[in-house]
Symmetry: D3
């Protein structure tokens, strides 16, 4: 039997600011520019979660996408939608909320909530032109 | 000669919060729900500005769209991009930053910066699903 | 004060078939072609509902879009999503489900459910390339 | 009975250059900038044609969109797709191919090919961010 | 020389229903929910077919995309566009038309119609938010 | 630490023509059809550049996307935007400007301008339906 990859897309809206509190104000302004703006800015984030597997013969599903949607909501979206990513989200505590760091943190939230080996890719669009993808730590071994 | 309507679309990213400071915390939470979230949230806003006129016979232009883009930048985008709409923007001072109030405020910023009678419509998408349009106070006479 | 137009977009998926039961099989096949296909076909419909009004000074809202979303769900989407538009929908009984007829029927569902004079336009995309718009019977007087 | 507006979207790809041959090289470079580039540039144009009318009781159609698509193809697209708008198109002879001038010329091509009073709007996107709309000479009377 | 991947996107509209006829009505309703709705529903499907190869030095083509479009039409689209995926399509006979099962079936239709080793990926969007991808049985060896 | 892939999307508009000057007029017309049209046609190209790496602990960046945008502008976009791909672009000299050949040429422009091993994928959309992807010569060893 053959592996099929299924993807579910969801949205959330959040405020954030790129800021490294271990560095000076000048370093932050120089490195992050307007993304360091003091009183925050925000985005309509688009999150795409891909799960891999062999379709179940009884259902034709790799995963029931309404269940996947619920898992994404419970473990990610309800914690970050209409929130401040620097201040309000326990699973982002101490993390600079760049798109790169967000996909790794979202992967970690989801990988334990899904059956082992199922999660394949997390892609996050900060804007329609800027995105990051993460395929998990298995790439590194 | 005939009127043609030309539209230029631009983007900006901002943080905001729906909050009426003349009302109680309870009223605000009840009326605005998660849009009242204390530490802000944000959006990728899409702004569409429409100008009406008769094309110039020498250029074929109602307005040079690179000039319109510059006017929108100077009078709107540079004031609100990567900013907090409640705290950072003089032309939004005292205004609850709902999409409805934003299109009226942006119209007022642009109408004085464009030749008289040129500005036709300001449309703002807060998300791809939610938008507001304003055609100016001439509708009201 | 000035009129602002706010739009909320929602989606639904449905099966349908263009068929006039008062006409012959040959007439239907000739007029409707593949849209008359016997065992139905279907679409991801995109519905845009526009409401007009003066923003409330306390909220900045013409209408709370979460309330508009709920009204659209209760009066339209829950009746037609994942349904057969020819067989399953009481408010479409006896109506050929062309995009034109659907926008008029959806207008009639919504106009009674919203405060008088609020509903401004119903637009429905059958596909990203094909759509219909209806501004209500007030155009006709 | 009530007016409904139906829209069909089509695409074409063309080369063009903004250039007024009655003016000097310097005037053209100053006014049109990179759009005056000597060896042409080009666009994926998106054309939206809107027709107004009362749905036919037998079909539910304002106009059969496959017929509208054919009319647009015969009178517009087959003349301009994969062509040079300055050199190859008889109905654009002597016209500076700005988006504004193109919507007026396309309106004139279509208005005679459709039943009287049916054509309502021609909208053309030169890019996803830049567009022009024309509602015909009836606005001017 | 280097491998390049070219993708062609096409659309089709179809009705379907998720239903396993070997199971009870209750099982089907419980597992598939509204996707099991008795009188069908439908989608605007978007199909993306990717072919891999080294560009031909004479043409610059991995494959002539107008030929690929014709192959997709002849082997897939003409069999399923404006059809019922459960009732009308010989190559889907006995298959529950989940997006996962559809990409595998479409791969099988196309892999024999294209030169050996050319087909790289079949991706199908049931809605803009839900999709499945299949890279063929070579992943499994 | 883990590899993350970041993508930046940019646009440019250009004229081109598919034509092999070593072949006859008849061969070119037969092979390239309307894409061989004598006086050029053009496209709004969408270019997506993906860079791979481990996020920097101080910034959370694989690469500063404003730097990547500048590199793409300096080495690609400023040479080809509002240009004729057959006539005006030194780095495309002698290359038939098919989408396949363009992604390889753009890869070569970018790979030397980015830190070694960073560039992962170049994807180019000629139209929203037609695209090509290139992952570099490392696939071939």
């Amino acid at each position: 039997m053959s592996t099929v990859y299924v993807t579910r897309e969801v949205n959330f809206n959040a405020a954030h600011r790129l800021h490294n509190s271990a560095k000076s104000v000048e370093w932050n302004q120089s490195v992050f520019g307007k993304c360091n703006s003091e009183n925050w800015h925000g985005h309509n984030y688009t999150l795409q979660v891909t799960v891999a597997g062999v379709p179940d013969p009884d259902t034709g599903y790799v995963i029931d996408l309404s269940i996947l949607k619920q898992v994404i909501h419970d473990h990610v979206v309800r914690h970050i939608d209409h929130k401040n990513l620097n201040l309000d989200v326990p699973f982002l505590d101490g993390i600079i909320p760049s798109t790169e760091n967000l996909v790794v943190a979202i992967w970690n939230q989801l990988s334990n909530a899904l059956p082992s080996g199922k999660l394949y890719c997390v892609r996050l669009f900060e804007t329609p032109r800027n995105s990051a993808e993460y395929f998990g730590p298995i790439n590194e071994t």
